[in-house]
Symmetry: C2
């Protein structure tokens, strides 16, 4: 199930062949949507279960509504001719009338209703001071709908508020489009959902996702048992699925591995229409025609499977009359450059946020395996095949996958996400605030802040005495307008399986962090102070991205010790020997302090509940939590001269 | 359940009181959302059933994904140090490696993967011509997510593509927000859904709509049996509903009728928070606090009930952490003036269509009873309280209630909708085309065409010999660019219960159509030709809107005879005596003939299936069906001089 491989390896390694044809997305979609006629099934469902379904046969009103003339007001039904000439100087007392509430029948002898507040009771009669126009406040028979008139046309997507009309017009069940989709998971490495996978095993999740996604379009999905990589079993399952369904999806086995049998099974049962489309992720997508029915091969990588579901399976159902999942396009300013492979239509998860008056879009990784990218994103963009990419700041169209309203309630934090911040999202949600936190590290956070691509940047900073050595922040040109909200003081130390300390670093396998990280700044200061030669530290030159990567390296056995915070160490179950402190701060532009979302966040950070929470995790000093301080040029100048530009 | 009444009548008619307080929408929403704390219930649901629900407790990954280092490619896992120095001039043969497919474990001794297409098989070994960078094509343990890391924060709205990640990370069930809503229908005039209402009865549909609408937000709704207008029964039902639910909706009984008991029942069980809000439709909305729980009174008119569901009930659930139904704002150009009652926040159904490059919004009636207005609309607009209305052409924001994509596939027809056109929607849908047809009559259709507010105007036109007398079209300044697609020639005649003809009109109750209608033009020509004095026609001066209103008047007994087409007469079950012919034509601007949607429509109109269909309905001559003709100034001038402007 290789995503990026451009070749196919067959049973062994000697034979290497390229994809025979790599269709364009457009060509592939034409083949897909023009080769298979709509199955044209329908089913009758009760109206209360019809929301989201597509009307298969026109729906007509069973009777007229209202059935007869009725009153549109509370008042009295009168004959308009009896009221002619009434005025302030000439009140008329009506003796022939009937009291009506809204919705009551206006008997045929009456042709107008006078509102109750425009009449005066006189004994058993009513006095009026204004004449009634014929048919005033009368709702005519059939005014809303007439018997046998069209309520819903074929193809209408039924919404919740349509249900009221349907029920009112006497309709209790409705013929809606139906389609059966069979989904076959393949792969000997798969275990069913809920089974704890052993190393090298994967939970079979793509067909669950396909089932849920296509069910939302109104499809009846059947997931078949996992077929191991045995051509005979796959063939038998596909034969059965084609017989029982209108569309068959076969998950994985469509790529370049030694055990990818989907293509050969399709060829043995029918015809291969295409294998390989210039789309990323999703290149190994495959289409077969078995007994006149489409068999669509989903790649194994989750994001590739998503792309094929959304860009192939959904359009096929759409060509059969089903409605697509709603796509809401917005124009956003790109926060980072976005490169694309020319010749490929690419689909990239994007997070859209509102900074000031601008919608800003941040790409969320292009790795086809990173399911968290789609989870964290609230939209995606389509980069057409001829495009090589976009510069930061480019305006592009993003399709939202969430309610646009939620964007306005979301605070974007980009930088170093310590466990201290992770649980703030729960508290924030109780206040109607969403937090979108990404963890690329300090420097990207500072850059995002500079480019107005986040509301605030959580930064792990060396304690004040070492701040002078911490370059990424101080080199920042506009730092004069920055303010910091102190979240907590964090213990920094050595993580290891065996409780190693600073002095052990010369006789163990150390894993370092990159130069721009604060833990590196602190480490360098500490070993200098201890008189340790950096090159005596075994692994000093082996750098990883940041403290999160340090604990992964230690837990996976690639190193024995490294620098990180106590929170990260304890979350990973590693031993921790504290050696210094860092300040965990939220950096933001001064004007952002007026933003309601930041105000809410500040209130939360200063709340006793949050302090208690931090103390419970442990390793945090909350003495200064919630304090706002300037990083004015003057303050910085006292510790380190700002570079001139 | 009066909508427009500003007063309340109590048991009898002598006492008339105004609503004591009419809150603004903003004040009412503040009272609603600040008075009731979130009930904070949650329930555990299987992930496959969690789409659309809100995460109640943060969801963490059960294990790291991948659990160990795995291959990102099909190829061989190697030690990068073994590959140092490889090049075209210096191929290296590797003896220590393991063959891996994508997703296979990369054993700890290896730190890189070389793609299968970059290796050459040499006996049992592989030769390479390029060195491998450490960790190339290796997916690190925990690269997608690390054990115990946050997958979904509290408050996240679960989407179909989130399901894949959840299943992959070992999550099989999830705590989501839960809320119980009790819905009480009241009203002695109500019959349950599915029961054929007698005159004056109404099918109880608002609570079904409420149930469906709030269920979509994740609420568990209980509909109680219909409570007749008996205070004791309503009180007992409300007591039970409050006990069993977090929120109670009481439908109808909130207004000014003699039998509206909701307010008094709330007062007897708890406290009335407000009754009457300056919102239209929905003014009689009511809020009570019974044992600390909100009781929301829905007005009886369907559109008022919809407004209260969307603008009150949904925001209350939203304040409790639930997600609103998605609202997609678009900016549209208003096709018609839209008046609004200053002081009231008004909500008006709008149909949004695309004409050329412009989104055009057409208001769909403001009557609170007209459920077809919401069915036909694909959005709504909110007119703030201070605004008195908008001119045609004003740009305003519309919230869409359908997929924005469907707008591009919709053809807008405004004018006279004959049964001949109604069923075209079904044929059109098979071609992926939606038809939005509104039936305001010829003149509004011509105006809509002139204002570029529709793609084409279906018009019932007098036959050529009388076209000269038909003013609305000929007065049209830009007629030089108009073309007509002939749909059918239609029989025009006298509709009645008893088969009356032209000569009977002097001794029966006739109902006329307005001067600008083509049937009036034809009638006047015919009776002039017959030598009948118009004023001898009993009812000649009694005008209704058009032929549809004519048949309603006859069926309801207000008249005995009137002019209409054979299709309209037969659809209404009336006798029909033909007296003339009309041309049913689709008028459009010449450049619109290039529009793909019009092309599709033209193909359908010219199809044998459509002709067969018209012949089956009967009363249509299809000899010229599908013929396009000009209405050039020259053509018009041959019959009637164009007025100068």
């Amino acid at each position: 199930m290789s995503e990026d491989s451009g070749s196919v390896a067959k049973t062994g390694c000697s034979m290497v062949k390229r994809y025979l044809e790599l269709l364009s997305l457009g060509e592939a979609l034409t083949l897909l949507t023009k080769s298979f006629a709509a199955p044209g099934h329908m089913e009758n469902v009760p109206v209360v279960q019809s929301v989201g379904r597509i009307v298969a046969e026109p729906v007509f009103a069973k009777y007229s509504v209202p059935a007869v003339n009725i009153s549109a007001m509370d008042g009295i039904a009168v004959r308009s001719r009896d009221t002619i000439g009434a005025g302030d100087q000439n009140p008329i007392t009506l003796t022939h009338f009937v009291r009506v509430n809204t919705g009551n029948i206006v008997p045929p002898e009456f042709d107008a209703v006078i509102m109750i507040e425009d009449v005066w009771e006189v004994g058993d009669h009513f006095r009026i001071r204004r004449s009634a126009i014929p048919w005033q406040h009368v709702r005519h028979a059939g005014e809303d709908i007439k018997e046998n008139k069209l309520v819903l046309a074929k193809g209408h997507l039924i919404r919740a508020f349509d249900i009221g009309a349907l029920v009112t017009y006497g309709i209790t069940s409705i013929d809606v489009l139906a389609v059966r989709v069979g989904i076959i998971p393949t792969g000997s490495e798969l275990v069913p959902p809920g089974v704890w996978p052993k190393p090298g095993q994967v939970v079979e999740s793509n067909t669950v996702m396909a089932q849920v996604y296509l069910s939302q379009m109104g499809a009846h999905c059947t997931r078949y048992p996992i077929a191991p990589d045995e051509p005979d079993i796959i063939r038998e399952t596909m034969r059965k699925a084609v017989e029982e369904n209108d569309l068959v999806l076969i998950s994985a086995g469509s790529s370049a591995g030694t055990r990818d049998f989907s293509e050969s099974v399709i060829r043995s049962l029918g015809e291969l229409v295409f294998h390989g489309v210039a789309v990323k992720p999703g290149k190994p997508v495959m289409l077969g025609n078995v007994k006149g029915k489409p068999v669509l091969g989903l790649p194994g990588y989750p994001l590739a499977a998503q792309t094929v579901l959304r860009e192939f399976a959904a359009p096929l159902l759409e060509s059969w009359g089903f409605a697509p999942a709603p796509h809401y396009p917005v124009t956003v300013r790109l926060a980072q450059p976005l490169v694309s492979d020319p010749g490929f239509d690419e689909f990239v998860p994007i997070f859209v946020g509102r900074i000031g008056t601008t919608l800003v879009g941040t790409p969320h990784g292009k790795g086809a395996f990173a399911q968290m990218a789609t989870v964290k994103a609230n939209g995606y963009t389509h980069i057409p095949a001829p495009v090589e990419g976009y510069e930061a700041g480019f305006e592009l169209t993003v399709m939202l996958t969430t309610d646009p309203g939620s964007i306005e309630r979301t605070l974007i934090l980009t930088g170093s996400i310590d466990p201290a911040l992770e649980d703030l999202a729960g508290l924030a949600h109780d206040e109607g605030l969403f937090i979108h936190a990404t963890n690329p590290g300090n420097t990207p956070g500072i850059l995002a802040l500079g480019g107005s691509c986040c509301h605030a940047a959580p930064l792990v900073l060396p304690a004040d005495s070492m701040l002078a050595s911490y370059q990424p922040l101080l080199q920042y040109k506009k730092s004069g307008d920055l303010v910091f909200i102190h979240i907590a003081t964090v213990e920094l130390g050595i993580a290891s399986r065996d409780g190693l300390g600073l002095k052990d670093l010369t006789h163990t396998r150390f894993i370092n962090t990159r130069k721009e990280t604060p833990s590196r700044t602190v480490l360098d200061a500490l070993i200098t102070a201890e008189g340790i030669d950096p090159l005596k530290v075994n692994g000093y030159l082996q750098e990883v991205h940041g403290p999160q990567a340090v604990v992964v390296a230690i837990r996976n056995g690639f190193a024995d010790a490294g620098m990180c915070t106590s929170g990260i160490a304890s979350a990973s179950g590693l031993e921790f020997v504290p050696v210094a402190h860092e300040d965990y701060e939220l950096a933001l532009w001064r004007e952002m302090l007026a933003d309601q979302r930041i105000k809410t966040l500040l209130t939360l950070i200063r709340s006793p509940a949050y302090r208690t929470h931090l103390e419970k995790i442990g390793g945090y000093d909350t003495a200064k939590t919630g304090v706002i301080r300037d990083l004015s040029p003057e303050l910085v100048l006292t510790t380190c001269p700002l570079p001139q530009d």
